[in-house]
Symmetry: C2
Subunit: 214 residues, 2 copies
Amino acid sequence: MNKKINLGKKHFSSETIKRLSLYLRNSKRLKSQGVDVISSDKLTELLNVTPEQFRKDLSCFGGFGKRGVGYNVERLIDEIESILGVNQQWDIVLVGTGKLGSALLGFEGFSQFNIKIKYAFDSDESKVGKSRGGVKIDSIKNMKRIIKSENIKIALISTPPDVAQEVASKLVDSGIKSILNFAPRILNLPEDVLVSNVDMASELESLIFFAKQK
Amino acid sequence: MNKKINLGKKHFSSETIKRLSLYLRNSKRLKSQGVDVISSDKLTELLNVTPEQFRKDLSCFGGFGKRGVGYNVERLIDEIESILGVNQQWDIVLVGTGKLGSALLGFEGFSQFNIKIKYAFDSDESKVGKSRGGVKIDSIKNMKRIIKSENIKIALISTPPDVAQEVASKLVDSGIKSILNFAPRILNLPEDVLVSNVDMASELESLIFFAKQK
């Protein structure tokens, strides 16, 4: 869960996007409770975000609430989903089908974000042709060609650390723009590629280190 | 995996600690390959960290390599484990035993960091007394007393978002110093508490948002 985000010259920050995610989650929760219209005060009170911040975030994307009237919850959901892009299906690729990669291939949580792992690649030819979580494993030799021809933009890396950089560079060469990296390795990539690092080990070690100081 | 770290007035950064985690992982890998002595160049070449950075990081903690001689791999592991605190056992608590909390209680990966979830708490009295992953669920009413008497410093939060702040504040009141928060909610806590946020949903939505811009 170690985190590094390069957002290049975009005028919105990664923190704005995280907050949009929170607004979306909260709006869905309210909708499920039968709420139709909500004030910015009510929507943000559980999020530790100020109503002002909420309105500012939405205004970055054209602002679609009416002051004093509140937000139509359903429309808010539609708009945020549309801003985030989660209203369309995203085919992604996964590289590295070891223990963690296999777990990710079996993870059912991706579908709620309209994410589908369409291709999985491995350098171990003995795995090629086998299936994990309904996805057939392809040879890494075909990776670049497939990503280009299918115009895929998002990749998960779950390789051993010593090949993660090489794999990441190849992914970027193939046209990948967003990477979620589960390998415990810091990746050096161009500024216009978004890299999120998920590293449970270093997260836990940081917690321990910090607890130890007390 | 959304990340917020407050390190208060400590003179080392959370990034230093993350790098120490990487050095530790790499040193263990080298040891398993039968390597006894390693240069800072070799140790860092797979990590995208410069040898200078490595030596600087270690020097923050008293520096224990010899220039020109290299590092004894076993000693390096011992020293980094000692710095991080992972050479001793850490009993931690978990709050919220729903779907995610139950998965965490069953997660076997904690033991490699000498982490043991010793207590799990829930506000749902119908769950109290039941076991998940070998841990008996206790009432949240007993949380403060147990954390204090057992002198526990680390907690995982896997509650629903609307109670996460309340739970976190109670944890801090009880003496908790490091929190790994899986609830999709931004926590407001004192500066001297380390909070790491793990939010797969907002991570994935950020990836999609960024891919969409291309």
